[in-house]
């Protein structure tokens, strides 16, 4: 192996953080979080197959404050990744690259994700779930 040569670091840490940069890495982080979170979905389905006691076990966890916290985080990660993904699909079609358009799209995705997460949780509580 050649001796390690000191090379200058790319300025990604010293550059001023813009909204689109933050959303981009948030898209990746929420993606990885959702990837890990599929374990929760698998647990839920296998608990349903395994019988009432296993299912009650799962419900006990998901109803605890810790479980609700994880579920809330998972919901937000899902909605954020969804809206940011739609933003990417719009870009894939070639629209929304102008300086104002992309800021608008990005802001809409961010605000929309928070709003939609809260709306979904309000509906869930209203429907009697997670009392």
């Amino acid at each position: 192996m050649a001796p390690q040569i000191e090379r200058p670091l790319s300025p990604f840490m010293t550059y001023r953080w813009t909204l689109t940069m933050v959303m981009s890495i948030a898209h990746r982080i929420t993606g990885v979080a959702l990837y890990v979170g599929t374990l929760l979905l698998v647990w839920w389905l296998l608990a349903a197959v395994s019988g009432p006691s296993a299912y009650a076990n799962f419900q006990g966890f998901i109803g605890s404050w810790f479980g609700r916290l994880i579920l809330f985080g998972y919901t937000w990660a899902l909605i954020h990744h969804l809206l940011s993904g739609i933003r990417h699909l719009v870009w894939d079609l070639g629209y929304g690259f102008g300086p104002n358009e992309r800021e608008w799209l990005t802001r809409a995705a961010l605000i929309g994700s928070v709003a939609l997460t809260i709306v979904i949780w309000i509906i869930a509580y209203a429907a009697g779930g997670l009392r």
């Binding site: 993606g31 197959v49 969804l82 779930g129 009392r131």
Partner: protein, 130 residues
């Protein structure tokens, strides 16, 4: 050397260096599964909402109905496919040690496959009677 000119060296060609030429396929499949998920997420969230606070018997009945089962299986396949491609991109971006990269890519494939199979098994078992 006869034939078309190439800037690739013979050793490079033999060792299979260079692009794997699978990028376009991955790009398209990622978009395809993304659009499928945009369509499937609404019924999926509705199904989860229906299941809240239900006891095991009610939950099993909901999960066992054909339309719910089919939607969830489609959602599972699209999600797992999408997350496999996505995680592979993340691994390729950050892991540069060849051995660890190989192990990570394999682990990613195995994890996604296991999640898909476990989910589909559970859904099918519920819909054909416990």
């Amino acid at each position: 050397m006869s034939g078309s000119k190439s800037i690739r060296t013979p050793l490079g060609r033999v060792r299979g260096l260079g692009s794997a030429r699978a990028g376009t396929g991955d790009f398209w499949q990622q978009r395809l599964t993304a659009i499928a998920l945009v369509l499937l997420i609404v019924p999926a969230i509705l199904i989860v909402m229906m299941m809240l606070q239900r006891n095991h018997a009610a939950a099993t009945q909901i999960l066992g109905s054909s339309s719910v089962a089919i939607v969830l299986i489609l959602f599972t396949i699209a999600s797992v496919w999408h997350m496999k491609i996505g995680m592979q991109v993340v691994i390729e971006d950050y892991v540069h040690n060849e051995k660890i990269k190989l192990a990570s890519v394999m682990a990613n494939n195995f994890f996604c496959f296991a999640v898909a199979l476990a989910s589909i098994y559970a859904i099918l078992k519920l819909s054909s009677g416990v």
